[in-house]
């Protein structure tokens, strides 16, 4: 904690889980007292660090027929340290990066990532919605983190994963001690495997016309809760914040679960009913993304299942598909 205080004092912006009522979420903190690590999962993922819910891409001013553009200003992005994300959240930045660098590299996303260091904390507890182990993750997975801390009897076991992480540790080496030589596994949560990923992949890419989509999605209300809490969902909408002769072009979160998402100007909607939108959600995560950018769009955090007002339990639905 002293380490974080020092990082904060040196000008890094610190984001960490803060509890309020029965919900915990990442907040910009200035005092380490605010941090809470009692939760199993924060309500929202940490994706907003690199992909804010609303982001100004550029501004414009019109004057006597001339248009002046002010491009995205990368200098306003502060050095950021995210503390306390779980391995399933850290792993989520890889699929996000895959999407934001597919074709044209996305300037705002990449610049934010460049200035962000992820200090993850392994999971020592889980609940029935967690299924990281079913999608090649685990409660002590190092992938995506710059530094991974595992809570042990006294303090944390520190694993330095990237150069960025190493720099951060070397800068404040006095806070660290020699390797305690413990068995990390002993301290990790036991997350049961719920389905076989191989079986899922085999089935899901070949079942576009299956009746299962309609059956699974019948109760889906078509809101965007699942997409907005997801660490890998990256759909966005472009909006115009116009004020007379000046304005801003904004990028804001959107969801393939909304009927409006695919609505054409003509009135035609290629994804007319919720079952088609549910199919899109799962196929995008488990078929299209692995095929096109070699990364799955799911880290098994279980947030979508927890957030769903009608208990669309994704692990249950994926298990059903895997055993069809």
């Amino acid at each position: 904690m002293n380490w974080l205080t020092q990082l904060n004092d040196e000008g890094s912006q610190i984001y960490a889980p803060v509890a309020k009522g029965n919900k915990t979420d990442y907040k910009h903190i200035t005092s380490m007292e605010e941090i809470s690590m009692d939760h199993i999962q924060t309500t929202q993922s940490a994706k907003a660090i690199a992909f804010p819910r609303t982001e100004k891409l550029f501004s414009y001013t019109k004057k006597e027929g001339n248009v002046t553009l002010q491009n995205f200003d990368t200098t306003t992005i502060p050095e950021t340290v995210v503390f306390g994300i779980h391995p399933c959240d850290a792993a989520g930045f890889k699929p996000l990066s895959g999407i934001f660098n597919w074709d044209t590299p996305d300037l705002p996303f990449n610049e934010r990532m460049k200035r962000t260091t992820l200090i993850a904390v392994s999971c020592t507890q889980c609940d029935e919605f967690c299924f990281c182990t079913s999608v090649n993750g685990n409660p002590g997975n190092t992938e995506g983190s710059d530094i991974l801390l595992t809570p042990i009897k006294e303090g944390y076991l520190v694993e330095i994963i990237t150069e960025k992480g190493e720099n951060l540790v070397n800068k404040h080496i006095s806070f660290f001690e020699a390797d305690p030589n413990v068995n990390k596994e002993e301290y990790l949560a036991k997350v049961p495997v719920q389905f076989s990923l191989e079986e899922l992949h085999e089935k899901i890419s070949n079942m576009f016309e299956s009746p299962v989509w309609k059956q699974q999605s019948e109760r889906c209300l078509g809101c965007g809760a699942c997409a907005y809490v997801c660490p890998t969902c990256a759909c966005f909408d472009i909006q115009e914040d116009a004020h007379g002769s000046s304005g801003n072009r904004l990028r804001c979160w959107d969801s393939c679960g909304f009927s409006l998402f695919t609505m054409h100007t003509s009135g035609h909607n290629p994804r007319e009913v919720q079952s088609q939108r549910w199919r899109q959600r799962l196929l995008h995560k488990f078929s299209y993304m692995p095929e096109r950018i070699s990364v799955r769009g799911c880290t098994g955090c279980g947030r979508c299942s927890r957030a769903c007002p009608v208990d669309m339990n994704i692990a249950e639905h994926l298990s059903e598909i895997a055993t069809l």
Binding site: C223, C252, P309
Partner: protein, 262 residues
């Protein structure tokens, strides 16, 4: 539980319904179930844990269009159903409604009149947590209240779960989706989030059953159902109980007070 299964099964066997909307066991709480035949009714459960408002599915055209529907309805779902009748969204002859009587027995409610009688005779389920928070908010000064709601609504990311879970939000095109002209900022920001919630609540005036589904659905836990709750109270104080004559904001009487305008 078995009683509802038997009754729903009977309706299928007699050919009186095409779909039964009820609850099944879910991950933590009961969740919606759609039985399309007699066999599928055997998963049905119906108890005090079944609080999600199933009336939201009664206006979902892809689910119920042209179908005769059976439904198990909680107290608040019955209030919503009564309101949907008033708004000409339901047909008595194609709906079989079951409530839970005060001694926890399945009670068939065969007409709007019977639903109204049930609502008259049955006390609403208590909402102790809400009452506590309402008391706290009522005791705030207007500046404190503004700060409370600004903080809460700044968290909204516009997933519209509140709208999706609401049986009264059955418009095919919501005001937030109208962009010529754009009445409400579609992106998430404190001001735009407030605009959205104020609009939502105004559209509920005199129609809301106070079921709290909007608040339960909110993934970030913003107590937005207290806004509609307060609106229901205000409407009741100023315009009396809801009636079949229409809703406070869509009807006009010459004797309506205009003091708030002048």
């Amino acid at each position: 539980m078995d009683e509802l299964r038997t009754k729903a099964k009977e309706l299928f066997e007699k050919g009186e319904i095409d779909i039964f909307i009820g609850y099944e066991e879910g991950t933590r709480n009961p969740r919606p179930l759609f039985a399309n035949n007699a066999d599928e009714t055997q998963k049905l459960v119906f108890n005090d844990m079944c609080t999600g408002n199933l009336a939201v599915y009664l206006t979902r055209k892809d689910l119920v269009k042209g179908k005769r529907v059976g439904i198990s309805a909680s107290y608040y779902a019955l209030k919503s159903i009564a309101q949907l009748f008033v708004e000409n969204q339901l047909k008595e002859e194609s709906l079989k409604v079951f409530g839970l009587s005060s001694d926890r027995k399945i009670q068939a409610l065969n007409s709007l009149e019977e639903i109204k009688q049930y609502l008259k005779d049955t006390p609403p389920p208590p909402k102790l947590k809400d009452d506590e928070l309402i008391k706290q908010i009522d005791e705030m000064s207007s500046a404190e209240r503004w700060a409370f709601w600004s903080d809460e609504l700044s968290k909204c990311f516009k997933c519209y779960a509140c709208r999706a879970a609401c049986p009264m939000c059955y418009c095919t095109k919501c005001i937030v989706e109208v962009n010529r002209p754009q009445w409400i900022q579609p992106w998430a920001s404190t001001l735009g989030n407030m605009e959205w919630q104020i609009n939502r609540v105004m559209h509920m005036a005199g129609r809301c059953s106070d079921c709290g589904s909007c608040g339960t659905a909110c993934p970030i836990g913003i107590p937005i159902h207290l806004l509609t709750h307060k609106m229901s109270e205000t409407v009741k104080i100023n315009f009396g109980d809801s009636s079949e004559k229409g809703n406070v904001l869509s009807t006009f009487k010459p004797e309506d007070k205009e003091s708030f305008i002048l």
